[in-house]
């Protein structure tokens, strides 16, 4: 091997950018295939996401969920684990948040309930990730399969609990009673108004701040603690990690607990911040979208925030787009999300060899 190295801007900037552009290019082809002008559609998308104050509020609200699940997928990636169970962990996390709110909403003030519910949501999410983590670490069962199974188990469990135990009296649909206002996470309207932004009816709430704090936590944990070093070692080379005396199984279990905790916090945004009651299917695919966010964000908190904003913008803009052009469904955003996963995840090596080869030759010459 030569000593020549690929410049950092190529491997961190150029190649990922090319992959994303290709994903967007193919998305454009999908728009053409259904007879819509991709440029016009992109215009509606951008207007819907950033063109007016309330749109921005919605974009950030969607981004909040995506930051949580993106961090969840990403930190597991750091240890070489694929946590595909973010969906189930978020669901159970929401259950934890909801139960705490239902128990304490009339007896405790928000200042006590909020931290309690945040910890509760994270713990419930973590607990749901614990069993797959334990089975992976100690009994060698594949975490991808077990976390998929746990998504389905979570879904059935929630239906059972909602229908049989938590349903409010006198309603037909499986939703719990609405929490007292003391268990509502404050909206961010007041925070934005000094800047002249009126995010009005958007559901953006304090969970967004929590999401940003989690990014800082992630950054500190992964790059500035001894445990983070162990985590990255296990992820890059488990054999070397073991040789160096790192307990791989312990790292696996802990990283999955943290991953599940991050995913569980989706419940804080959705249950405490927006819906103010427990209901079914509030996770709406955020767990899977987190995979796209983590891949696109290159497993770095800053990248994850940017990717979550982009997908948040797509979610919100997609709703606007469907409203403006009735022949388009908001589901087209799911296609774009899938294409991003395909091109910047599964096909990430497509250009890599050739481009890196080019720069290596140039460096050697």
């Amino acid at each position: 091997m030569s000593q020549a190295k690929v410049p950092a801007w190529v491997s961190v900037g150029l190649i990922p950018l090319l992959n994303i552009l290709l994903a967007f290019f193919v998305s454009g082809l999908v728009f053409l295939a259904i007879g819509e002008d991709p440029i016009e559609a992109a215009g509606y998308l951008i207007y819907g996401a950033f063109g007016y104050d309330e749109g921005i509020g919605y974009t950030l609200y969607y981004a909040t969920n995506l930051i949580f699940t993106g961090l969840a997928v990403s930190i597991a990636f750091k240890a070489g684990l694929f946590n595909i169970g973010g969906e189930g962990q978020a669901y159970i996390g929401g259950l934890g948040v909801g139960l705490l709110c239902l128990w304490f909403d009339s007896s405790l003030p928000l200042i006590v309930i909020a931290p309690l519910a945040i910890i509760g949501g994270a713990l419930f999410g973590a607990a749901w990730a614990y069993i797959p983590a334990y089975l992976q670490a100690r009994r060698g069962s594949h975490i991808v399969i077990t976390t998929i199974m746990f998504n389905f188990i979570a879904s059935s469990l929630m239906v059972y609990l909602m229908v049989n135990w938590l349903k409010a009296e006198g309603v037909m649909s499986p939703i719990s009673r609405t929490f007292e206002e003391s268990a509502w996470l404050p909206y961010m309207h007041d925070l934005f108004s000094p800047f002249g932004l009126d995010i009005g009816g958007s559901p953006l709430n304090m969970a967004f701040i929590l999401a940003l704090l989690c990014c800082v936590l992630y950054w500190g944990l992964v790059w500035h603690t001894r445990w983070g070093y162990q985590l990255r070692t296990v992820g890059t080379n488990p054999t070397a990690a073991q040789y160096a005396g790192i307990d791989n199984a312990k790292v696996t279990i802990w990283v999955m607990l943290i991953s599940g905790g991050f995913a569980g916090l989706v419940g804080v945004n959705e249950i405490m911040g927006v819906n103010h009651n427990l209901l079914l299917n509030f996770t709406a695919g955020y767990g899977f979208a987190g995979i796209a966010v983590a891949l696109m964000g290159r497993n770095h908190p800053v990248g994850i925030i940017l990717a979550a904003m982009l997908f948040g913008a797509l979610y919100q803009g997609g709703a606007e787009l469907a409203f403006e052009i009735p022949t388009i469904t908001p589901e087209i955003v799911v296609v774009i999300q899938g294409l991003v996963i395909l091109f910047s995840g599964a096909l990430e090596n497509m250009f890599k060899g050739r481009i890196e080869g080019f720069f290596l030759r140039r460096a050697a010459a």
Binding site: V30, A33, I34, G35, F82, I84, I131, L135, R139, G140, S141, H142, V144, I145, T146, I148, M149, F150, F152, I153, S156, L157, V159, Y160, N164, F288, I291, A292, L295, T327, I328, T329, E331, I332, V333, V334, V335, I336, Q337, G338, L339, I341, L342, G345, A346, L347, E348, N349, M350
Partner: protein, 322 residues
């Protein structure tokens, strides 16, 4: 009581069919070393293509061809990512599932303007039940008559096809040269390469067979079991097939048994809704629905037997160069 049992078993066959097809699809793929969590997406894509083509051409068979075509295309994308570009198998599978979930609804709305569904299929656009010979004549014979006329007769061709694929798969995987290579590529690709056989080619073939079977499973959902395509109609059956594949330890006959067991649980869950069992009381439907997943987790944990997959599964093959 006996009649109820026959009806439950009859439903079991119908529910198991897509599971069997998809699980056998996964068997080919995973035996060659390619992890496939995209069974769900391929099945959904096949279901959409089948219903769309059947609605346009008025023939279920043309629908089946389109379903296979669409599913094979998706399988080839998976192969391109995993075999040619050594991408992550799981990521690729998730990508395919996500793309298909969105694309079917997007195209469906554009083509048929029915909120993402396809038009309801009737007549030749669907696979209709086949009455086996003498089914009506023997219907009155006790026990056997009921088994023959209710349980075995009266399914559509795809159900019989799915069951025929089980011995066929066994024969291909364990008794042919291709099958030997397929298994070898999943266990030890270096050895296969040393013998002068292209690892990539064997894996591509496996992935294509996987696509064909998933396409048939999809066509069954939209043109045989139901009369048209509905958003997300595969509803996790691809994942359940994956569970059955693991539960059957990557072997055709045990996989069939796992599919039948999961199908049976599904059929029972529907029957037991609101029924109080003697001694146990009312069993929540969700508890039965969740059993396939719980059982698979228990198996993976090594509490009931041990699931050992093909050795080289999920690992890209890198040819060594001197």
């Amino acid at each position: 009581m006996f009649e109820t049992l026959i009806l439950i078993l009859d439903a079991t066959l119908r529910v198991s069919t897509p599971l069997i097809l998809a699980a056998l699809a996964g068997l080919f793929s995973e035996r060659s070393g390619i992890v496939d969590i995209g069974l769900e997406g391929k099945m959904l894509g096949g279901a959409f293509a089948a219903a769309a083509a059947a609605a346009v051409f008025g023939s279920a068979w043309i629908g089946l061809l389109f379903a296979i075509g669409a599913s094979v295309c998706l399988a080839l994308i998976h192969g391109f990512a995993c075999i040619t570009h050594r991408g992550d198998h799981i990521v690729s599978g998730v990508a395919i599932n996500t793309i298909v979930a969105g694309l079917t609804v997007t195209l469906g709305l554009d083509w048929f303007s029915q909120g993402g569904q396809t038009p309801a299929l009737t007549g030749d656009a669907r696979f209709t039940p086949i009455t086996l010979p003498f089914a009506e004549q023997v219907a009155d014979v006790p026990v056997i008559g009921l088994i023959y006329s209710e349980l075995l007769s009266g399914h559509n061709i795809l159900v019989y096809l799915a069951f025929a694929f089980v011995p066929a798969t066994y024969w291909v995987v364990f008794k042919t040269r291709f099958g030997l290579r397929l298994r070898a590529v999943g266990e030890n690709p270096h050895a296969v390469d040393t013998a002068g056989i292209s690892v990539a080619l064997v894996r591509y073939r496996a992935v294509i067979i996987c696509g064909v079977l998933c396409g048939i499973a999809g066509a069954y959902l939209s043109t045989a079991h139901n009369a048209g395509f509905l958003k997300d109609m595969s509803a996790g059956k691809g994942y359940m097939a994956l569970a059955a594949l693991i539960f059957g330890k990557w072997r055709p006959v045990p996989v069939l048994c796992a599919c039948l067991l999961f199908g049976f649980l599904d059929a029972v869950a529907v029957r037991l809704q609101g029924v109080s069992l003697p001694g146990i009381g009312e069993v929540p439907v969700q508890a039965i629905e969740v059993l396939p997943y719980v059982l698979t987790v228990l198996l993976l944990a090594g509490f009931i037997g041990k699931a050992v997959g093909p050795k080289a599964i999920g690992k890209p093959y890198v040819k060594e160069r001197a």
